[in-house]
Amino acid sequence: MTTPMLHARNVRKHFGKVEVLKGIDLTVERGQVCCLLGPSGSGKSTFLRCINHLEKIDAGSLAVEGDLVGYRRHGQRLHELREREVAAHRRDIGMVFQRFNLFPHMTALDNVMEAPLNVSKVSRAQARQDAERLLEQVGLADRAGHYPAQLSGGQQQRVAIARALAMKPKLMLFDEPTSALDPELVGDVLDVMRQLAADGMTMIVVTHEIGFAREVADTAVFMDEGVVVEAGDPRQVLLHPEQERTRAFLSKVL
């Protein structure tokens, strides 16, 4: 048995008095695609953000490839990691945001080169070569010199995917990557993600694209009010859900 890519056990998180995650258990094996679905406010984004320590969990454990997120185990104690160590962990986890969050003061190419240059310290020539290859992979080789404001939403999101891939992550997190896009731009982004899944990338995707989930996901997870209501084979969960809450949600999005 190999260690799973992600192993979450009883993950809890609250903001003030509101408990947003009420004990999430989730295991994602290497090379698998896991789609997270659920109504607004169910804690999907929060859970995703916990995985790369943009939020700190309050209880439970969260491990990526067997390494605890944000902590180091020393005997019977957990030591909080330093900023440097947290940053090092995050390099292995790519994240794609709903609102793209490209750096607006840099061209597409510079966006993709930024982290390899300044974090991994690869040579400029190497970073450039990799970035050009990645932009080509997402179908934007001809837009390398454009600033984000000069790109469509779908193009921006594909640059954002290339930017995350530039750090050669082992795990990619997608937080509703297509929900800020016009319908006709969704397809290009999903195509890139589909290809990524086919290449064996481990992915956790928050999405409302049921078709994508059914086709690409190895597991589908339905969350509501901070708990996992139902998880398993996407055909099972999405076509023949056992739980009433899942059924109610699916009837609204389909």
């Binding site: 943009l54 090092a88 003061h105 982290a115 984000p148 954002a160």
Partner: protein, 318 residues
């Protein structure tokens, strides 16, 4: 195709609107106001030029005098150094104010409170006469007799240094607020994206947040620089030999107060005008990546040529 005006009137129905000539709106009111304003301005300029009390000969004599130039040099480096100190320290204080540490936050708040809350003139006099308050500057461990360094205050705090400290520290208090507003104007998603790429907070601040904050920081800092240039005149109270100090020295002897103040004003005006150049350059540099439509100058707008300018949007503004 007939494009004569005679033909256009008859053929207009079957031509698509794209081909029709555009008649811009004529703003007659603006023309009347412009003529009135220019006449008034000419009148004022004429009366100033003819006023014998202004002693334009004295103005001309001193405008390029050596003493004035010396003062000008001091004013310039004092402005530059005080702004550098203010922006550098101000950025540090802004970051401290936004820090999670209550001690750092408290210290930064205290600094801003003191240096923004007391009159600049008082601060200048304070630094100028600090030698009377503390005869020696000592560096050592507080509450013990151990000292590493001991210098006489007056040899350290020359009037120029005192002026620089006073202006720089005061500026830091204001600049820190401008920088803080700039940092806070940047979408938090930017820092998150940087963090998710493995960038550490200091790198994120330097590469991602501050360059974007610059767009918000530069215009008010341009104002601050202009203010600083003129505020250096205050250091004449501790005889720092800036432009104003030297002007005062001259009129203390020749009693030509007004002409000498005209000399000073002309120079300050010239310097402020020059400062617009680097500001425009910086705004362009840090405005990269923001799509703008072509800018039309007010003069062209008034002449009514703004009708159908080709919009130049994507001409790679690198």
């Amino acid at each position: 195709m007939a494009t004569t005006t005679a033909a256009a009137s008859t053929a207009s129905e079957d031509r698509c609107p794209d081909d029709l000539p555009v008649v811009p709106v004529r703003h007659y009111g603006r023309w009347v106001a412009a003529v009135a304003a220019i006449t008034a301005l000419a009148g004022i300029a004429g009366s100033l030029a003819k006023n014998a009390n202004l002693h334009w000969d004295v103005v001309g004599h001193y405008l390029f005098a050596d003493l004035i130039f010396d003062g000008l040099v001091t004013t310039l480096w004092l402005t530059a150094a005080a702004m550098a100190l203010g922006l550098g320290l101000g950025t540090l204080i802004a970051v401290m104010r936004l820090s999670a540490s209550p001690v750092l936050h408290g210290m930064a708040t205290l600094f801003v409170w003191v240096f923004r809350g007391t009159p600049l003139l008082v601060q200048i006099i304070f630094w100028g006469y600090a030698g009377a308050l503390y005869k020696y500057v000592m560096i050592g461990i507080p509450f013990t007799d151990i000292t590493f360094l001991r210098v006489e205050t007056n040899s350290l705090l020359t009037p120029a240094i005192a002026a620089l400290l006073a202006l720089g520290l005061n500026e830091a208090a204001y600049a820190s607020e401008i920088v803080r507003a700039g940092i806070q104007s940047v979408d938090p998603g930017q820092a998150e994206a940087a963090h998710s790429l493995g960038m550490r907070p200091a790198l994120t601040m330097r590469r991602i947040v501050l360059p974007q904050a610059m767009r918000v920081i530069i215009p008010p800092m341009g104002n601050e620089t202009i203010n600083m240039l003129k505020m250096t005149a205050l250091v004449s109270v501790i005889s720092a030999h800036d432009l104003m100090s030297n002007i005062q020295d001259v009129y203390a002897q020749n009693y030509q107060v007004i002409p000498m103040l005209v000399v000073a004003s002309l120079w300050y005006l010239a310097l402020v005008t020059l400062l617009g150049v680097p500001q425009a350059w910086l705004e362009r540099r840090y405005g990269r990546g923001t799509a703008r439509s072509g800018h039309v100058s007010p003069l062209r707008r008034m002449l009514g040529v703004a009708g159908r300018l080709p919009t130049k949007r994507q001409e790679g503004n690198r």
